[in-house]
Amino acid sequence: MAREKIGALLLLTFSIAYGVLALRIPLSFLAQQEFFTARTMPYSLAVLGIILSLLILILPTADPKGKHTLKQETRGMEWNKAILLVVAMVFYGLTMKWLGFILASILFLMAGFYILGERRLKKMALIAIPLVILLWFVMSTLLGVYIAPGEVFYRLGVL
C-alpha cells in the first residue's frame, strides 16, 4: 500500500474520532439555541478531514514520492537509535521534576551521546556538564529565571 494512503487511513480514523469527541463537547441550554456554538468549528473540521482523507484514499496517487510503500521508504533506517532517543526524551520529561534541570539534562545529553555511538565517557562528560551548567548560569543568574531544584534534593535533605 502506498505510504500516503496509509497516512490518509490514519488521518481518516483521527478525523472520525475527532468528530465523535466533538459531539461530546458540553453545551449549556442557551448555547444550544445559538447558530454558532463551540461544536460548530470542530464539526466542520471533522467533516472536512473525513472528505479530504477519503479523497486521498480513493484518487490515484499523483505524487511519485507518495507511491513508495512504507517498507521501501523506511528500509535501512536506524530505528533502534531513533527509538532509544525517543525513550531518552520521555525519561528526561519524567525525571526533570525529580532530578532537577542540571542533573536530568546532563544525564539526557550523555545518554544521547551514548545511543549515537559515542563511548568516550570523559569527552561526553566534558561536553555535557559545562554546556548544561553554562545554560543554567545564563538562565538563572543573567536572565533571572528561577529554575527549581529537583524534588530528590529535598527528600534527601540536601536542600
Binding site: 497516512g7 463537547i25 472536512l48 545529553l109
Partner: protein, 513 residues
C-alpha cells in the same frame, strides 16, 4: 500616507538603532547562521529555537532578533548547501546546484562570497520594495472586516496547499485541517467551554504553539538525521575548511549583478504571494536565469555557474522578505517561518494585521529596518567569519543530534516549566515523524494551527454581523474578490492538469491515428 511612511521609517530606524536592538540583530544573525548551517535545520527551526530567548524582551526587540535569526538562517543554509551539498531546507536546494560544484572546484570562498553578495542584493532590493508596499497595503487593509479576514485566512491556507506541488495539494489541505483541529483544543474563548481537554488541566489553555513548532520541526529534523543515517555532518571535506580567499573580481561582479537584480525582483513578487515562499522564489529565479543565458553559459549551469548561484540566492532572500508583506500587513503568514513568527507576535500580545501598522508602528517598522541591518551585518561581519563557522559542520552527529534535541526540549521547558510539555512534545514528535515518513508536509499544519483561533473568531463575528447567514462570503465586493481568488488558486492546478491530460490524450490519438 507618505508622511506617515516617512515618520514610520524614522521610528523604525530609531527603534533598530537602539544599542540593545543592534546587538540583538547581530546576535540573531550570528545564531541564525550557526543553526541554519547545521544540516537538516532550516529557518523555521532556527526561529522556533530562538523564540524562548525573546520572551524576556520587549516585542519590538524580540521581533528584531527573530528577523536577524531568519536572515542568518537563510545565509547559514546556503553555506551548508555550498560546502557539503546539504541544504537545510528546500529553499536552498537551488543554491547547491551550482554552489557545491564551484566549491568542489576549489573555490568555496568565492562561492560563499557570490552567495553573500547576491543575498545582500536580494535583501536590499526587497526591503525597499517592502517599505513601499507594506504601508500601502496596510492602510488599505484597515478597512477590512471580519468577513474579509476570514476569507483572507482561507486564501492564505489554500495558497499554501496549492503550491505544495504535484499530488501534494490534498495532503497539504488535510494537514491544514489537522492544524485547525489541534487549534480547537482547550477552552473556547467565547463560550468558555472546554474542548478536547480530556479533563487535563494542562490542556485548558490549549496546545502551546512553540511546543508544536519545536516538536514538528526541530525534534523531527534531528531524528530524521539519525533515522536516515545522514552522514553529511561528518562529510565536510578538509579542503573546504580554512579557506581564506573570499574575493570576487570586477568581471565576475558584472556577470552576477544583473542576474541578482532580476532575481530579486522576481523573488520578491513570488514571496508576496501567500504560500509561494522562498523555495519557489529560488527555483523560479534559477530557471529564469538559465533561460536568459546564452547557450554557452547555459551549459555551465549545474557545473558551477556564478549566475546559477547568484540567481537562486537573490531570489530566495528577496522572497523571504516578500513573505513579510502578508504577515505584517494582513496577519496572514506566507510561509512556515513567518507562521512561527506570527505565533511569536501573538504570544507577545500583539494582534498581527493592519492594526499593527497603527497600534505598534515600532514593531512594524522595527522589523523592516532590522531586516536591512541584518543584511548589512551578514555581509560585513558574518561573511569573513564563515570559514570559522564552517568548522561547525565538522561536529560529528553523535554530539550534534542530542544537543539539538536538548535545546529544543529546553526551549519549551524554560518557558512553561511544565514537564508535561516535554512529554507532549515527544508525542507530537512521534506523530509528526510518522506523518513525514508518509510524505505529509508539516508547514501547512503549523499554519493551520496558528490561524485556527483567529479564523474561528472571525467566522463567528462575521456570522453575527450578517444575522447568521453565510451571505457574508459574497455580499461585500472585497470578500467576494478574495473568495474568487481562493477558488482560482484551488481549481487552477486541477483545470491545468485536466487540460494537459486532454492535450496529451489528443496528442496520443494523433500519433496512434
Amino acid at each position: 500616507m507618505w508622511d506617515g511612511m516617512l515618520s514610520g521609517m524614522l521610528s523604525g530606524i530609531s527603534t533598530t538603532l537602539i544599542p540593545m536592538n543592534i546587538a540583538m540583530v547581530l546576535f540573531g544573525c550570528f545564531m541564525g547562521s550557526l543553526i541554519g548551517m547545521l544540516p537538516g535545520l532550516g529557518p523555521i527551526t532556527a526561529v522556533a529555537l530562538m523564540i524562548p530567548v525573546t520572551y524576556g524582551l520587549d516585542p519590538a526587540t524580540g521581533m528584531v532578533l527573530l528577523a536577524g535569526v531568519y536572515y542568518g538562517a537563510i545565509f547559514g543554509g546556503s553555506t551548508s548547501s555550498i560546502l557539503i551539498n546539504a541544504p537545510g531546507e528546500a529553499a536552498t536546494v537551488a543554491t547547491a546546484l551550482d554552489g557545491y560544484p564551484l566549491a568542489r572546484q576549489g573555490q568555496p570562498g568565492k562561492a560563499l562570497a557570490v552567495a553573500a553578495y547576491a543575498s545582500f542584493t536580494g535583501g536590499s532590493i526587497s526591503v525597499v520594495l517592502l517599505m513601499i508596499l507594506a504601508p500601502m497595503l496596510a492602510s488599505v487593509a484597515t478597512s477590512f472586516q471580519s468577513a474579509d479576514y476570514f476569507a483572507l485566512m482561507i486564501l492564505g491556507l489554500t495558497a499554501v496547499s496549492a503550491f505544495a506541488g504535484r499530488g501534494g495539494v490534498l495532503k497539504a489541505l488535510l494537514m491544514v485541517v489537522l492544524g485547525l483541529m489541534l487549534a480547537t483544543v482547550g477552552t473556547d474563548q467565547t463560550s468558555g467551554v472546554q474542548r478536547f481537554t480530556f479533563g487535563s488541566l494542562e490542556l485548558l489553555d490549549g496546545i502551546e504553539f512553540l511546543m508544536l513548532a519545536m516538536a514538528t520541526f526541530a525534534l523531527t529534523e534531528a531524528l530524521s538525521i539519525v533515522l536516515k543515517r545522514d552522514a553529511s555532518s561528518d562529510s565536510l571535506d578538509p579542503k573546504m575548511i580554512g579557506f581564506k580567499s573570499l574575493k570576487v573580481s570586477k568581471k565576475e561582479f558584472k556577470l552576477i549583478g544583473p542576474s541578482a537584480v532580476r532575481s530579486s525582483l522576481l523573488g520578491f513578487i513570488i514571496g508576496v504571494l501567500p504560500g509561494a515562499g522562498a523555495t519557489l522564489g529560488s527555483f523560479m529565479s534559477y530557471g529564469m536565469e538559465r533561460n536568459l543565458a546564452s547557450p554557452a553559459e547555459q551549459k555551465k549551469f549545474g557545473k558551477g555557474s556564478l549566475r546559477g548561484l547568484a540567481a537562486p540566492e537573490a531570489g530566495n532572500n528577496a522572497a523571504s522578505s516578500g513573505s513579510f508583506v502578508p504577515l505584517l500587513c494582513l496577519g496572514i503568514p506566507g510561509s512556515g517561518t513567518t507562521a512561527v513568527m506570527l505565533g511569536a507576535l501573538i504570544a507577545y500580545g500583539i494582534e498581527p494585521g493592519p492594526r499593527m501598522f497603527i497600534d505598534s508602528p515600532q514593531v512594524f517598522w522595527g522589523v523592516i529596518m532590522s531586516m536591512y541591518l541584518g543584511n548589512v551585518f551578514l555581509l560585513i561581519l558574518n561573511l569573513p567569519l564563515i570559514p570559522y563557522f564552517a568548522r561547525l559542520l565538522a561536529i560529528p552527529r553523535n554530539f550534534m543530534v542530542p544537543m539539538i534535541l536538548f535545546f529544543s526540549l529546553m526551549g519549551v521547558y524554560l518557558v512553561t516549566f511544565n514537564d508535561f510539555d516535554i512529554l507532549m512534545m515527544v508525542i507530537f514528535c512521534v506523530a509528526a515523524m510518522a506523518l513525514r515518513l508518509m510524505n505529509y508536509p508539516m508547514a501547512p499544519l503549523l499554519l493551520g494551527f496558528i490561524l485556527g483561533g483567529l479564523m474561528e473568531d472571525n467566522l463567528r463575528r462575521a456570522l453575527l454581523i450578517y444575522n447568521e447567514s453565510i451571505s457574508f462570503m459574497w455580499e461585500r465586493p472585497l470578500t467576494l474578490g478574495i473568495n474568487l481568488a481562493t477558488l482560482f488558486i484551488l481549481f487552477f492546478p486541477m483545470v491545468r492538469s485536466l487540460l494537459s491530460r486532454t492535450g496529451k490524450a489528443e496528442g496520443l490519438d494523433e500519433i496512434e491515428g
